[in-house]
């Protein structure tokens, strides 16, 4: 008796799911293959010599210590803030929560810009108060800038975990004779582990992938070094090799996170409704708590807005400057909008495949999309360059190539919300529609799609926002002269033209802030 073969089962899948999913999945892999090919053009001996150069190790140590520094500082910012907004009698919790998330809208290079323009002879502090402080740069500058803009990811994760904690677990620990400190260590923190790991993973990926901050702070981490190598050296083999090392490091970190998380069960085991939490009263610690909240928010949010605003007042841009901002905005949107649309269209079939189809390979395609998200942008940009030069030279230096890179990089952002929404829609709705005579695509479109429309729109908007402020891919892949808001802001800053950079940075921040409400609303629902 013939058993049902994979091919026969796969044949049953509708084309509108299978084809886009496979194209998107393979699309992620192709550039990486070319990156490997480019690196291995050199003979093995050369590669070995390059790899074992002292510089490679310096970069590795630099990158890892930067990551560690950012993880420590962002944890110090995020965890107390999360606890205060969930478990204490702090006032204006909702307001503080929103403000704590807004830094997501401020790109790292804008934070770096704000920090840099504080110091120096022509700096903000010097012009305002006559106090000349050295410009922050190097390791500490990079740690500060990256922490100030990545801590919301950890904050959101920990907050969600704290909200989900079952107070009766803590109460049973108390009843078993543990004091409040022991309960925190033995019950609360272990349960926060998955949230901490998830948040740290996202932050580590950001740090590894970040280009703007380390470039502006002139700190030699991998991505900045790759860029320098790529733009200045004649031989691009070392750049390709470093990109591969960075990619390997990223995958190692992703893998470690998965291993650390393990198979332990953290959800509530019992049944029954969860009771409300009793808020910890701050009492005499209240001034300290408010001071802490204020200083974190002031540094992460107040600083960039204050600096940007001050520059606009101190050196108001003329009409021509505003016009060039508008032009850059239109250019940015002209690549970000198509990227967001294509990403959403590709994310739906992949999410559908991952959520609905039990078939070997259906999870693989989703993993590939997440791989695309994890690839450090500078590595991806170089991979796209090598890929286009080799395989599709007519795509090199085109907007199409840039949009493709955006889609590969941001696909996972759109898949996440769509997939969790799909898991909540029973597949029987589509079966019912088909039993009533609908073709598969129509059945999906008339029953499931209306129910997942909101997350699809949210995912699209999120990708649009992220693409609007994206720097490294745009910087390395955009056609010559095609300067977006982020590229303008970045190049002006790196040339020390702080006042000229301000309107571009402001445009990005304002635009992104519009979307943060959206992000908060669906992050909060997870």
């Amino acid at each position: 008796m013939a058993s049902l073969t994979w091919a026969r089962r796969a044949r049953r899948l509708p084309w509108f799911v299978l084809i886009p999913a496979i194209v998107a999945g393979i699309g992620t892999l192709v550039p990486i293959v070319y990156l490997v090919l480019r690196a291995f053009e050199a003979d093995l001996e050369t590669l070995q010599r390059l790899l074992w150069r002292e510089r490679t190790w310096t970069l590795l140590v630099n990158t890892l210590s930067l990551t560690a520094g950012v993880l420590v500082l962002s944890t110090l910012m995020a965890v107390p803030l999360a606890w205060l907004t969930v478990r204490s009698d702090l006032r204006w919790k909702r307001f503080v929560t929103v403000l704590a998330v807004v830094p997501l809208a401020i790109p790292g290079y804008v934070v770096a810009y704000a920090l840099i323009s504080l110091g120096g002879v022509n700096g903000f502090l010097s012009q305002l108060f006559g106090a000349v402080v050295p410009r922050p740069s190097g390791y500490w500058g990079a740690v500060a800038a990256l922490s100030l803009y990545t801590y919301p990811y950890l904050f959101l994760n920990v907050r969600a975990a704290l909200l989900g904690l079952d107070p009766s677990l803590e109460e049973s620990a108390r009843s078993l004779g543990h004091g409040s400190r022991a309960v925190t260590w033995r019950v609360v923190l272990p349960q926060l582990r998955p949230a901490l790991l998830a948040g740290w993973l996202v932050i580590a990926l950001y740090v590894l992938g970040d280009f703007g901050v380390v470039a502006l702070m002139r700190y030699e981490a991998f991505s900045y070094a790759i860029y320098l190598q790529y733009s200045s050296a004649f031989d691009r083999t070392y750049a390709a090799l470093l990109s591969l090392v960075l990619l390997g490091l990223t995958l190692l970190i992703v893998g470690t996170e998965g291993r650390l998380l393990g198979r332990r069960r953290y959800a509530r085991v019992g049944s029954g409704a969860q009771r409300a939490v009793v808020m910890t009263r701050l009492r005499r610690w209240a001034p300290l708590a408010y001071g802490y909240v204020a200083s974190v928010l002031l540094a992460a949010l107040g600083l960039p807005f204050l600096v940007l605003g001050s520059w606009l007042v101190l050196a108001p841009p003329d009409l021509a400057a505003w016009r060039s901002v508008a032009e850059a905005f239109v250019r940015t949107a002209s690549v970000a909008a198509p990227a967001a649309l294509v990403t959403a269209l590709a994310a739906m079939p992949i999410a559908y495949l991952a959520a609905r189809v039990r078939l070997r390979g259906s999870r693989l395609i989703e993993r590939l999309a997440y791989l695309g998200y994890a690839i450090p942008p500078v590595s991806l940009a170089l991979a796209m360059v090598f890929f286009s030069l080799r395989a599709v030279p007519w795509l090199y230096q085109t907007a199409t190539l840039l949009i493709t890179a955006y889609v590969i990089s941001f696909l996972a952002l759109a898949i996440g919300p769509i997939r969790s929404a799909l898991l909540q829609v029973p597949p029987r709705l589509e079966e019912a529609a088909r039993s009533l005579g609908r073709r598969p695509f129509v059945a999906f479109f008339e029953t499931t799609f209306p129910l997942i429309r909101r997350p699809v729109v949210a995912g699209t908007a999120l990708v649009l926002m992220v693409a609007m402020k994206e720097l490294p891919l745009t910087f390395l892949l955009a056609p010559t002269g095609f300067t977006t808001l982020s590229v303008r802001g970045f190049t002006r800053t790196s040339e020390g033209m702080m006042a000229e950079a301000a309107p571009f940075a402001l445009a990005i921040v304002l635009f992104s802030s519009l979307f943060v409400g959206l992000l908060v609303s669906y992050e909060g629902k997870r």
């Binding site: 049902l4 049953r12 009533l436």
Partner: protein, 379 residues
């Protein structure tokens, strides 16, 4: 395409007037379905025919493959082997595969799967493709009238009670006048009080419209009250197919006998039309020879007023209002247990030793189809 002749088709057919051999609407032959990466066979070389206007219940314990069978008919699952024919057309075999939307089936899901973003009327009109929009909505209203939900037409599913949602699901499946309607445990989400009345109502609607239906259930009472014929299923095989009375009173296997209600299983030695058992020589419902397992329903046993028959010790007396159930044990050496059912006014008490006589015929049983398939691996 067929019009929506819901009322005219077979509208005059009453329960009793079923044709003896109706034209087959669903024909399954050699149907087999395995689940990937498991040895488990959900449906194993199964043959079954459902006649026009007939209501067939697939009855079996959970995991016996009855829902899979229903989904194979609908086309939500693809068979590994065998053939499915609906209304005379092959819809699935080794070379043919017709998508569910082309099979002219209606499906009522266990949780109803009503479209939450559509009103009741829009849900019912969903399967209607012909005619103007006004005409389709008019037809939807007509079907809603049939299930008695006209006043809820403008509401959304979440605003209805469970029983009402159930009837909307039925109306939605009935509206396009499918060749067969498939119901997957449709009453299991209703509370006990509502279940009986909804069941009667749904049966009346199906009969009034002359709809062919296959219903899946694990509730033997539901199967017996709802079905024209019952197909008892176990481990992917059909154990027995027949009318409720036939399956109940003349079970073919011990599994069928005990799944459809309480029964006494006795060992005996067949001698043609009688069998020698610990209850004495019993008349057989069908001839048997040699060692045989017999089923005797509790209501076929009575306590004899003057101590005739086999003497038993009463262990337990269970009063259920409309009847009494006794658990007994043979008084002599053998430890054979017996269940006896009597009218509600019987005065026999626990601890009594009384005589039991057999009123009806005993039914000789065979080995179950599932057991036979397992013991002959070459099959």
């Amino acid at each position: 395409m067929v019009g929506y002749g819901l009322y005219t088709a077979c509208a005059s057919m009453s329960d009793a007037a079923l044709p003896h051999r109706p034209t087959p609407v669903v024909e399954l032959s050699g149907l087999t379905k395995r689940y990937p990466r498991t040895e488990h066979v959900a449906v194993d070389q199964l043959d079954l025919t459902v006649g026009s206007g007939e209501i067939l219940c697939l009855l079996g314990p959970s995991g016996c493959g009855k829902t899979t069978l229903l989904r194979l008919i609908a086309g939500f699952e693809m068979p590994d082997a065998g053939r499915v024919r609906i209304a005379g057309a092959t819809v699935a075999d080794a070379d043919t595969w017709l998508e569910p939307e082309r099979r002219r089936i209606g499906f009522v899901f266990q949780d109803y799967a009503l479209f939450p973003h559509l009103t009741v009327r829009q849900n019912v009109a969903f399967g209607l493709r012909n005619g103007s929009k006004a005409k389709r909505l008019q037809h939807a209203d007509a079907v809603l009238d049939l299930v008695g939900l006209t006043i809820f037409a403008g509401r959304y599913p979440h605003q209805l009670s469970g029983g009402q949602q159930q009837r909307v699901a039925l109306a939605r499946a009935l509206a396009p006048a499918p060749a067969v309607i498939l119901l997957d445990e449709p009453f299991s989400n209703l509370d006990a009080a509502l279940r009986g009345s909804t069941r009667t109502e749904v049966r009346q609607i199906l009969k009034r419209t002359g709809t062919t239906a296959v219903l899946v259930t694990h509730d033997q009472e539901e199967a017996m009250t709802f079905a024209d014929r019952i197909a008892v299923m176990r481990s992917g095989h059909l154990e027995q197919v027949g009318t409720p009375e036939g399956v109940y009173s003349r079970p073919e296997t011990a599994f069928v006998a005990s799944f459809l209600g309480r029964t006494n299983l006795l060992r005996g030695e067949g001698h043609g039309s009688v069998a020698r058992t610990s209850l004495g020589d019993l008349a057989l419902a069908r001839p048997a020879h040699g060692q045989v397992m017999l089923s005797v329903r509790p209501e076929a046993l009575t306590f004899s007023p003057n101590g005739e028959g086999v003497r038993v010790r009463v262990l337990q007396r269970e009063f259920k209002g409309h009847d009494l159930t006794y658990a007994c044990q043979l008084a002599d050496g053998e430890r054979q247990r017996l269940v006896v059912q009597t009218g509600p006014s019987c005065t026999v008490q626990a601890g009594d030793i009384v005589g039991v006589v057999v009123a009806g015929a005993a039914v000789p049983l065979q080995a179950s189809a599932a057991t036979r398939a397992r013991s002959s691996p070459g099959a």
